[in-house]
Assembly symmetry: C2
Homo-oligomer: 316 residues x 2
């Protein structure tokens, strides 16, 4: 029943497809951080990506993979986070509409951002059931195509292009570390490493407070989180039926970190690197700071997933 994983060819095609629209983001290093941990860390800065997060890659690939007639009807999703913004942005750029179902308790900052990118918002009760049923209603009314935030091979192939660029730009890496929420970024990263840098191990990092990937990986079966309460809001979602098998096969290890370490790592990146990263992006460095990974002497790729934070509500 499992569909084939996206191939190397599919990921290269995704990169060609989205290249004209997305940013080829820079890779940054910090002499201070490298000295402190005695390793070389290459930060792939998707906080500088369009809409401020890697999600622009998957959304663009998904939207641009649709046939012209289907695309005309628009795309739809339920999301309160970066995917909502990314899909709205990608749809507008492709000349079509994005219908976004958002829980009514979403922060005004996020609602404004989605509107700013041209998304057409339907608010609903803040439960998964209400989100899904409202989305179904919107789709019935509009005939728009649902674009899932992560459980979709065109999304996974799109997210894989971040690691593809990192590998192309930096060359040999001992490991790549990525955060994991729904698993779109992680499964894409794992496939990119497997195809384009076979000697590179892939580690996933996850908040202890939203450790469904850790538990699912250990059990070999999907065990979703129920209402996880981590500060890393991008990582509250649980793995999907398409991302999980890729992760099971191609990820070496999943590491969980404390909330305190996430906040500490986030502030540390802001102070030392002078870049704005969201809590989810700090999770990989948190794992290094908590000594969960043997990094000594290693060349490490680290995916900074995004930089969308509410500056008026910082966790320190």
């Amino acid at each position: 029943m499992t569909a084939e994983f996206p191939s190397a060819q599919i990921i290269r095609e995704a990169h060609e497809r989205i290249k004209p629209y997305i940013s080829h983001t820079p890779v940054m290093t910090s002499a201070t951080i490298n000295r402190m941990f005695n390793c070389s860390i290459f930060f792939k800065c998707e906080n500088f990506q369009k809409v401020g997060a890697f999600k622009a890659r998957g959304a663009t690939n998904a939207v641009r993979s649709l046939g012209e007639e289907i695309l005309k009807k628009g795309v739809a999703t339920h999301s309160s986070g970066n995917h909502a913004q990314a899909l709205s942005w990608a749809a507008a750029l492709a000349g079509t509409k994005a219908f976004i179902v958002m829980p009514a308790n979403s922060s005004p900052v996020k609602i404004r951002a989605v509107k700013g990118y041209g998304g057409i918002i339907t608010l609903c009760e803040p439960t998964l059931e209400a989100r899904e049923s409202t989305l179904q209603k919107v789709i019935e009314e509009t005939n728009a195509v649902e674009v899932h935030p992560y459980n979709d091979h065109s999304i996974i192939a799109g997210q894989a292009t971040a690691a593809l660029e990192l590998i192309t730009d930096i060359g040999s890496l001992d490991m790549i570390i990525a955060p994991v929420g729904g698993g779109g970024l992680l499964s894409g990263t794992a496939l990119a490493a497997f195809y384009f840098s076979p000697g590179t191990t892939v580690l996933a990092t996850e908040p202890e407070m939203a450790d469904d990937a850790f538990r699912s990986f250990r059990a070999g079966t999907l065990i979703p989180s129920v209402n996880p309460r981590t500060i890393a809001d991008g990582l509250r979602t649980s793995l999907g039926s398409l991302t999980f098998p890729i992760i099971l096969k191609h990820v070496n290890r999943i590491i969980t970190v404390s909330e305190a370490a996430i906040v500490m790592a986030m502030k540390f990146i802001w102070e030392r690197m002078k870049i704005i990263v969201e809590p989810s992006s700090a999770v990989p460095l948190a794992a290094i700071m908590e000594n969960h990974i043997d990094v000594k002497g290693k060349r490490i790729g680290l995916i900074i997933s995004g930089g969308n934070v509410d500056l008026s509500n910082l966790p320190w």
Copy 2:
């Protein structure tokens, strides 16, 4: 009595001298900001410089220009800001000591930072008189050489290398906009534009609340600020006898901006560009946002002076 301005040759030599130690910082752009103001702005990101500010350039040039015997005794300054950190860092890297006089009411964050770079701190009363007399005492005791934060040609030549890199990397620019405090960065920028990009005009931007450069420029004579209270802490100092003549001759215009515009521009840069800049760095964009500059269709270099902010005490 006025010494000759630093020559093109002196600035090129300064760049060669400091290149092994400083960062060749990136130039960033923002499609959103360019669209909004209908121009092309090239942000020279000295927030990514060593010690988080352009001051690393001047300090390194000053320290590395000293003879070996003199250097051994160490360097000294009074400063509560980025110069104190930059000089401590540059001295340590050159294998010598930095004696830093700081007002006792300096923020613990800044005192820790200077200590962290190896600076030897003497605290004093928070008055200019106490700072100067304490520095004299320290110099008498140690035989260290004073390195002034801006009123020094080796500092000016060092700061000029930021604009030199910008011009080299980006090519033709209609204008360069820089903030002005003591005038080290501005005078260096103006000389670099004059020598290496003669068609480029240089504009200075300054807080209304610390407008000594604006008033001095208009009067043609130095009129220092008395206890200015702007949030742009790097710009509270007044022009010096060496920076002022260069500015008078080579700067086209000085523009003042409100405190509200500085905070708005700073938050805007954080949100849109995902980089951390200090209030002083936001002053040039504040001038654009307040419509003081005709930017339409222009190619504009903008110097981001630094990114050292106390993250626990933000102005919003």
